[in-house]
């Protein structure tokens, strides 16, 4: 699906270049400021202003694809044109306890259990933390998240961090998992998610993490959040022009440090709700914007980041189903490459295992639609139609018996049982069934443990952090 015409893409692109060269950004990192000035940017009125060719060179030098591996060294997530991958989201404050149904603060154990659940769901391709643990020292939160995700899942990880010190510890652990720095560079299983502050502000710690990835040649995404009416203009086009400009600065910095740094382009265009003042995760502005910035990414030849499968609802209900399906459909149709936030409820404040399980089914359902219709001799069924008894049906025909398993989509979570049987089985709605499925995956699904050397490094890192705290 295309959201933007060629002319609209040009209009957004030119506006973004205008924002960078005329309006300028505020850069709080001295290292990044110097990088930009040395490369040909200039400073006036306290802003860094960036000329067009700098930006265009950076776009040209960034890779068009990012092959992402799982932590076992298998290529499972090639972020490249036409491919769509889904995963959870990061850093929710609350979670819905899958055992008790209670809404409570997230713990380090929750992070690992969410990763474990995502590992066992076939449509979930990568993990994010889904929780900001309240039961570890505040400065160690992100390192604990990273460890929990690695232990809970083999799938690629999209992680967050506090600062460069976090990045160094995470890098040490990741190298131990991969078997060395070179192995990690060759088969990266992790991607940093960091962001600037819209509009136009680049905090030192955020930029520092970005530069760290470029120094090491590791994949990074740096999507700003110009939410309409909040961090961005109330109009979607303005939000997209601003977000594009802001994201391209991140891209430029990585390419200035190391040409060819794998950079995942993208932004987030939620809506700041004009009644509640929440940042809406179910707003149609987000998937509409996603389709548009995916068009921009295609124009630039860059892999692209997006979001889907999240809801503003406080429970997993019809609203959650609507918002998940609309956004997953948009992600698929626009061919956005890496789609996060699957499993969020309550406008991203709370994580829900039931929601993650429901979205797994939504993704599988929509995938059937985008896969389209196979038209071939075996599917045209010329002979079965020829031999059928008029009115007699095809149920017992060999063609049905030989092809039914792949030819029809079969629900795993959606209910099609007859009424009496549904009552017999407890009259359960989709949320109750998703709860059962989540518990079953957690009980049955096995995840290979981390290599011993990695656990040793983790122990060292945590011990050093403890000592640091004591001092």
């Amino acid at each position: 699906m295309r959201m933007l015409s060629d002319e609209q893409i040009q209009a957004l692109h030119c506006t973004s270049l205008d924002i960078l060269s005329r309006t300028g950004i505020v850069m709080k990192s001295e290292q990044a400021r110097q990088l930009l000035l040395d490369a040909g940017a200039w400073e006036s009125d306290g802003r860094i202003k960036i000329p067009d060719p700098l930006v265009m060179d950076a776009i040209a030098s960034a890779p068009a694809r990012i092959p992402m591996y799982n932590r076992l060294g298998q290529l499972t997530m090639p972020l490249e044109a036409g491919k769509v991958f889904f995963g959870s989201g990061s850093d929710c404050i609350f979670t819905i306890d899958v055992e008790t149904g209670e809404r409570r603060q997230a713990t380090a154990e929750d992070v690992q259990r969410f990763a474990h659940l995502g590992d066992g769901l076939a449509q979930i391709d990568f993990t994010m933390s889904m929780g900001n643990p309240c039961d570890v020292p505040p400065l160690d939160t992100y390192v604990h998240e990273f460890i929990g995700m690695l232990r809970g899942s083999v799938k690629p990880t999209c992680y967050t961090a506090h600062n460069r010190e976090d990045m160094e510890d995470i890098y040490r652990i990741a190298c131990a998992v991969a078997g060395g720095e070179r192995q990690l560079r060759e088969k990266p299983f992790l991607m940093l998610y960091a962001e600037s502050i819209s509009p136009l502000l680049y905090p030192e710690e955020s930029v520092d993490k970005l530069l760290f990835c470029a120094e090491k040649g590791l994949p990074v995404t740096y999507p700003p959040s110009p939410n309409t009416g909040g961090g961005g203009p109330i109009t979607l086009a303005g939000a997209l022009a601003l977000g594009n400009a802001e994201c391209l600065v991140g891209l430029l910095l990585t390419q200035l440090v190391r040409r060819g740094t794998p950079f995942l382009y993208g932004m987030n265009t939620a809506a700041l709700d004009m009644k509640s003042a929440i940042v809406s995760y179910g707003a149609p502005e987000w998937p509409t914007g996603m389709a548009a910035w995916t068009d921009l990414a295609r124009y630039y030849g860059l892999p692209v980041w997006g979001a889907a499968g999240a809801t503003d609802s406080k429970v997993v209900d019809a609203q959650a189903g609507i918002e998940a399906t609309v956004t997953v459909m948009a992600a698929f149709l626009s061919r956005c490459n890496l789609v996060h936030d699957v499993g969020y409820i309550e406008y991203g404040s709370t994580s829900s295992m039931e929601m993650l399980v429901v979205c797994d089914e939504v993704i599988r359902d929509v995938r059937f639609i985008v896969d389209g219709v196979e038209v071939s001799e075996r599917t045209l069924a010329r002979e079965p139609i020829h031999r059928a008894q008029p009115g007699g049906g095809f149920l017992a025909d060999d063609h049905t018996l030989d092809n039914w398993k792949w030819a029809q989509w079969r629900p795993a979570l959606l209910d099609r049982t007859r009424y009496d049987r549904w009552v017999e089985m407890g009259s359960k709605d989709i949320c109750a069934r998703a709860n059962e499925r989540a518990r079953q995956v957690l009980a049955d699904h096995q995840v290979p443990p981390l290599p011993e050397e990695a656990e040793e490094v983790i122990a060292q890192v945590l011990k050093a952090r403890e000592a640091h705290c004591d001092r």
Partner: protein
Amino acid sequence: MSDILQQIASNLYSGADKAVAGLVQQALDQGLAPAEVLSGGLIAGMDEVGKDFKAGVLYVPEVLIAARAMHAGMGVLRPLLAAGDVPTAGKCIIGTVEGDLHDIGKNLVRMMMEGAGFEMVDLGTDVKPAAFVAAVREHKPTIVGMSALLTTTMVRMKTIVEALEEAGLRHSVKIMVGGAPLTAAFAREIGADGYAPDAASAVDVARGFAG
């Protein structure tokens, strides 16, 4: 149960028709009686299939694939079976009622019941009351099954029950009915003996009558 009978049953369950035919021949070569192969192998396998279908483990095509394997086994066995050898679960005539041309649901019930060992006589679709009466006279079944998909045709079922009464045949058979618009209450209302909401339950209802 001997090893080979178990193998027949499990191959039938997974729908391996060629393997079932081969194993049936092998069992006969080992000296097992045809009736033993039928009940201990083929029917035992179909019973498992029926049970798992009802429990929601198996899909409809998997039942039909198993039935296909049963047919393959029967192909080898049938010429060797004496008339008294076949332990039929019961005889049943089945048809879609007058005015209704819908065949698929009725066929599914027929196939499921065949798989469960019933001897089925299929009268087809658009079956008039007189044809039901004539078939009962001719085949002397224990069960009469009627199907309808339309609310406009399901009312004809009552006419058929009445026709059997008039012919003095009503008490020689059990009548069971089914079809999307039907309910258990409707079945009682027209004087039928049983109702099943789906094909798997139909087998259970029929077994209740035949047993």
